[in-house]
């Protein structure tokens, strides 16, 4: 999965872990406070101008395309349901410049309904992490209690509205502690007063783009990630976010699968 966020222009703070000792916990200090990604400029969530269409490109593949959208959006989510007013499920978080999405290998003879929603909010300065080598099973005695999302008390008294594009609402002080060869605990300072939650985003080495890997609740400022094999070396950041208004609904009904297909 590749993503791109064109608003990230500040150079990445480079932090490298060189240890190969399993289970060794190292504390990595992130970039400087106040050097965060510029926040979006809009004051409130605008009325959506996204126009979504859905095309059945094969019996069981549907491609979505949308136009319009908000230039200050941090990205979009694509959601689906099998009833127009049913329960919508997030399929993917996408970067702001992406305007197509293909939903593949679908349930046959089923009505699919889609909508696209923007999300907004400021991201912290990214940090770069290199994890030591080691298999997943090397941490068998670790119950990973450190990984649970939580709010660590002692944050700033004054918080600021991300919906008012306050530069003071940007999350700061992102730090990473390598808990083992495949686990990292992140902590940061929450300055946002009105966020719907926090997103943890990463950009694995070799990828030009950040992507959302975890959706956390509001006021969370500590979370542990179990990494995937392609994340041994990656950049991470957190974003205080809120959702905008959804697009129009677009739907298609899938066809039958040919015998043997």
């Amino acid at each position: 999965m590749t993503h791109r966020d064109g608003r990230t222009s500040i150079p990445t703070a480079r932090l490298k872990v060189t240890t190969r000792i399993p289970f060794l916990t190292l504390l990595l200090v992130a970039g400087l406070a106040g050097c965060a990604t510029p926040p979006p400029r809009q004051a409130v969530a605008p009325e959506t101008s996204i126009r979504l269409s859905a095309t059945l490109i094969s019996a069981t593949d549907i491609t979505l395309e949308w136009q319009g959208g908000e230039p200050d959006a941090a990205g979009h989510i694509v959601e689906f349901a099998t009833e127009p007013h049913g329960r919508y499920t997030i399929l993917q978080f996408l970067p702001p410049h992406q305007t197509t999405f293909t939903h593949p290998d679908l349930m046959p003879e089923t009505s699919f309904h889609y909508r696209v929603r923007p999300f907004y909010g400021p991201a912290s300065r990214p940090i770069e992490i290199t994890l030591p080598e080691g298999p997943m099973g090397s941490a068998t005695k670790d119950d990973h209690a450190w990984a649970a999302p939580r709010s660590i008390p002692g944050g700033p008294i004054a918080k600021h509205a991300i919906r008012m594009a306050s530069a003071d609402a940007v999350p700061t002080g992102l730090k990473a502690a390598v808990m083992h060869a495949n686990g990292v605990r992140f902590r940061w300072t929450d300055h946002a007063a009105d966020e719907e939650g926090y997103l943890l985003e990463d950009r694995p080495e070799g990828s030009a783009d950040f992507g959302v890997i975890a959706v956390l609740g509001p006021n969370i400022n500590s979370f542990g990630l179990i990494t995937l094999p392609n994340e041994k070396k990656a950049s991470f950041r957190v974003r205080a976010f809120y959702y905008g208004k959804p697009s129009n609904l677009a739907g298609q009904t899938t066809g039958t699968i040919p015998p043997g297909g």
Partner: protein, 203 residues
């Protein structure tokens, strides 16, 4: 494909006494997937709590990190023997301190786990029996929709968020669904999983 611990799995199920029997499924206001006509039904179930397993309605917890023994918090639905059965539900991994925790299983009577959907790596990877990965890069904290269609004697299909991820042929016989949190032979807790909007149809 069957895991090495299936004999133990089966034994655990056979000795598991029902703690609670209530009707399971909600009225089917939604449309099932694939072609119909489908008839909604509400199979009964019992709750199985073994080891450090804890069940509270549709929240299933393994509260320990033991990597051995029978650790389970599950619903066991009644056996079916014929027709085409559809299951639908949404799960969310609230926390996963362990790994290789089964979320849903289809059991074949007297044979063991015929289909198993498990979660690994902090909720970022889904796998089926034998460790085959069927989805990776999952976004932590979001709900996942699961539909299974089981044609007894023919095939069992699994859809994750609407996309076909796994197909396996099916023998005839008696089968039943289980869902919750269950420590697989190579897995361990702790884990907290929430299921919601569980529905069943048949035709």
């Amino acid at each position: 494909m069957r895991s090495p611990n299936q004999a133990r799995l089966r034994a655990g199920v056979l000795v598991a006494g029902p703690l609670l029997v209530v009707l399971a499924a909600l009225p089917a206001a939604a449309d099932p997937v694939e072609s119909g006509p489908w008839t909604s039904y509400s199979p009964s179930f019992n709750v199985q709590e073994r080891g450090c397993g804890d069940v509270s309605d549709l929240t299933f917890k393994l509260t320990c990190s033991d990597d051995d023994g029978d650790q389970r918090a599950e619903r066991r639905y009644v056996t079916y023997t014929s027709g085409i059965r559809q299951f639908e539900g949404y799960f969310k991994i609230i926390s996963l301190g362990g790994t290789r925790v089964s979320l849903k299983q289809t059991f074949k009577d007297q044979s063991g786990a015929y289909f198993m959907l498990a979660v690994e790596r902090g909720g970022r990877l889904y796998a089926v029996n034998g460790g085959t990965t069927i989805a990776t890069g999952a976004t932590i904290g979001t709900e996942v929709r699961v539909n299974t269609v089981h044609e007894v004697g023919r095939t069992h299909r699994t859809y994750i968020n609407g996309s076909l991820k796994h197909t396996v042929s099916s023998d005839s016989g008696g089968f039943y669904d289980k869902l919750g949190a269950y420590r697989t032979s190579s897995g361990k807790g702790p884990a907290t999983v929430e299921w919601s909007d569980i529905r069943f149809w048949r035709k």
